[in-house]
């Protein structure tokens, strides 16, 4: 679903990604971990071209993307993204947040968009919040709306950039539950997170980034019980 070849990305003089190769299969759930500054969020943002890579190649759903020629908006429409800080549209109600892109980008009819939007709200357990503004929601509810908003575009793959990092501890589980359900339904997902329980339970594969390189890529059992790399061992001790 996502094939990344030799990705390099620098911000000024700082090289954040130093040659990443990654292949995410359809329906696979990949969790990216690593200490802050390891490049995991940057890598995720390269996958929907919020950051432009300096070198390398990214293919989405079998098509190699040329950022200069291809219509990036069209590609982004197929790659959902959930942000750490939700980034809901504060001037629109929950339902308006969800139907905005389907109507503007996919040119869906309003009734159809609303119908789908309500189904998605039902799915994330917020059907009764359709007409309130985001400021009236808790962090966990905001993030669930953000997930529904992304799903409204019927993406082929979902990217999650530390989706629970900005939440109070007691609100984390409601968001993870929605993500787990998505994974079980066969959504292809790439998740940057510090939630090791989620990684252990839901991930098909855990990838450890360190200083812009992938140093470990294993199934959760091996990753936690038999890590290959010394840095991975240290990291696991640190977070558990």
């Amino acid at each position: 679903m996502i094939i990344a070849k030799n990705i390099h990305k620098s911000f000024g003089d700082l090289e954040v990604l130093k040659g990443i190769d990654l292949h995410v299969a359809p329906k696979e759930v990949v969790v990216l971990v690593g200490v802050s500054g390891s490049g995991k969020s940057t890598l995720l943002r390269c996958f929907n071209f919020l950051e432009m890579i300096n070198h390398g190649e990214i293919a989405i759903d079998g098509k190699t993307i040329n950022p200069k020629k291809d219509n990036l908006n069209k590609i982004r429409a197929e790659v959902g993204m959930v942000f750490q800080h939700f980034n809901l549209f504060p001037h629109k109600t929950v339902l308006e947040n969800i139907i905005e892109a389907p109507m503007q980008v996919k040119k869906k009819g309003k009734q159809e968009a609303i119908k789908h939007g309500r189904q998605l709200l039902e799915k994330v357990g917020l059907a009764e919040k359709a007409d309130v503004y985001p400021s009236k929601l808790s962090g966990g509810q905001k993030q669930r709306v953000a997930i529904a908003r992304s799903l409204a575009m019927e993406p082929k793959v979902m990217l999650f950039d530390e989706p629970t990092s900005a939440l109070d501890p007691e609100l984390v589980s409601e968001v993870l539950a929605v993500m787990k359900q998505l994974a079980q339904e066969g959504m292809t997902m790439v998740v940057v997170t510090h939630e090791m329980r989620f990684a252990r339970e839901v991930a098909d594969r855990i990838i450890m980034l360190d200083q812009g390189r992938i140093i470990e890529s294993n199934d959760p059992k091996t990753f936690f019980e038999n890590p290959e790399h010394e840095r991975t061992k240290q990291f696991i001790q640190l977070v558990e």
Binding site: L50, A77, N87, V105, M153
Partner: protein, 222 residues
């Protein structure tokens, strides 16, 4: 009753019908100045925020010139400059000058407000497949506009008071009329005091309406 009150009320009554007519002209000038100013302001704010250096340059030249020269010079320059080429009444020359002048300040208000909107908003729009234009029109600008309202209100009040400067090209607005009255009646003190009150009342009404609108916005959302 003290004599000053008597003279003032006498001046007030005598000038009432003329000043009310002139008030209408002042309000028309202000309204055109604001509407034109907002349109130009939005246009130049977008130029300034564009990625193109030449477009940024054009916006910077406009803003620098307008902010760097007195309004009264701009009015006379535009009036005598523009009427060389096209026929324009002094009212319209004045109104356009006010619009062009306000546009530079409003451009900076809009630019600041747009830049003040969290980057996450445009990133979220992009990640949903929206184009830059869609994101600006539907997501970023509506939020920026709401934040612009207090400084815009301030600019509108300045625009109202600044409209008095078009007296210099002979538009029959409030201040022009006051000048004429003062000269004809030999009562400059009373006349300018009365006309000052007109502006004060107009500004107070303006501020009150703005306040109502701001409160309404706050109640509506977040």
């Amino acid at each position: 009753m003290p004599e000053i009150i008597v003279t003032l009320s006498e001046v007030f009554t005598r000038t009432l019908s003329g000043f009310l007519d002139a008030t209408v002209i002042t309000l028309q000038l202000t309204a055109i100045g604001i509407v034109l100013g907002c349109l130009l302001g939005l246009f130049f704010a977008l130029l300034k925020l564009s990625k193109s250096k030449p477009l940024q340059f054009i916006a910077n030249v406009y803003i620098t010139i307008i902010r760097g020269t007195p309004l009264i010079v701009q009015i006379t320059f535009l009036y005598f400059g523009i009427t060389e080429f096209i026929t324009l009444t002094n009212f319209w020359a004045g109104a356009i000058a006010l619009g062009v002048h306000n546009g530079a300040y409003i451009a900076e208000i809009f630019r600041g407000a747009i830049q003040g909107i969290d980057k996450g908003q445009s990133e979220a729009s992009s990640s949903l497949g929206m184009t830059k234009a869609q994101s600006m029109k539907r997501i970023v600008f509506p939020q920026a506009l709401k934040r612009s309202i207090p400084p815009l209100g301030n600019q509108f009040i300045i625009a109202l008071k600044d409209s008095s400067l078009v007296y210099v090209i002979g538009v029959a607005e409030l201040f022009s009329l006051a000048n004429r009255e003062a000269a004809q009646s030999f009562q400059p003190f009373e006349t300018y005091l009365v006309v000052g009150l007109y502006y004060l009342v107009l500004v107070m009404i303006f501020s009150y309406l703005l306040k109502l609108y701001e409160n309404k916005l706050d109640v509506d959302k977040d």
